[in-house]
Amino acid sequence: MSSSPDRPHDGPELAAAESLRLIREQQERARSGLEPDGRLLCLLWGVAWLVGYLVLWSGARGSEGIPSAPAFVVFGVLLATAVVVTIVHSVRRTAGTRGASRLAGALWGSAWFVAFVAYPFIIGGLGRAGASDEVIGLVANALACMIVGIMYLTGAACFADVSLYVLGVWIVLTGAVATVVGMPTTYLVMAFLGGGGFLVITLVWQVVETRRRRRARAGHVAAGAVEQDRTDG
């Protein structure tokens, strides 16, 4: 093992700390370059739901509890924007990789697509079968929450991500509350419990990430201090 010369040396330990720092920094860079940023996507969807459903709620107050057409247009544009940004961001981040993780991500991503392709047909079918505007409005919100919530639950299982599971449970429960409260309060529930839920998770992820980075840096400084003691002493 190490020879112990009389003269203190800054050899292997300093090199070890430096190499570990290099590994940590590079792996952090690789991960943030290859994985979609959950914080960004959650923030995006939180804002889209919060603003979108608030617009529907305010559009519904005057007219027998059913949102006005312009309110639906604003809502549609917000959600469409969120969809496009999500797809572009995710495809860019995962581009140039292949294998089991990529396949899992692609299958999960396409499941969203399949579910929301079927969605308008279900809502439209209920309308043709004679469902009232009130029933359609409630089912539209409930079904959206069930799809989104259960997709997060499957994503949590797929990627072993507990915080995604919590988000899934929250959105499923939001769907239940949004249906029980009835029109037009359902839109307020979607905005504050649903959109708010996304924003809370964004905040939690941000705090966790900041703490993790600070701890990693502190760990490195501590390791550096140990070396300093050795070389000084």
């Binding site: 093992m1 190490s2 050899g11 292997p12 330990e13 070890a16 700390a17 190499s19 570990l20 290099l22 590994i23 590079q26 792996q27 860079r29 690789a30 991960r31 370059g33 290859l34 581009a95 140039g96 990789t97 292949r98 294998g99 089991a100 993780s101 990529r102 390791a223 140990v226 070396e227 050795r230």
Partner: protein, 99 residues
């Protein structure tokens, strides 16, 4: 001083291996994407990849996307083990320093 793997111990190759180690065991990455994550020139990266391949730590698979040739890279199980041993040796050195 504990024996450190000389193939991995060079900073540039250490960064290459560390990056590939973030991928799942069955996952691969294209050459340009790896180059982008490392911010290295193509020539530089090729040289280091060749050394890692010679040591049996990295495998390349060539395929085509349309008519364009694409090279995918990944750590071999041996390379992954070597990286784990290496980081363990480093941590050991630091612990030794603290004791």
């Amino acid at each position: 001083m504990a024996e450190l793997d000389a193939v991995i111990h060079a900073p540039a190759r250490l960064r290459v291996v560390a990056t590939l180690a973030t991928l799942g065991a069955d996952d691969e990455i294209t050459f340009p994407r790896l180059q982008q994550l490392l911010d290295m020139t193509a020539g530089n990266l090729s040289t280091h990849l060749r050394k890692l391949e010679d040591a049996g730590y990295v495998r390349q698979s060539k395929t085509h996307a349309g008519r364009k040739p694409v090279t995918y890279l990944a750590l071999t199980p041996q390379g992954r083990r070597a990286f784990e041993d290496y980081t363990q040796a480093l941590t050991g050195l630091l612990k030794g320093a603290g004791a």
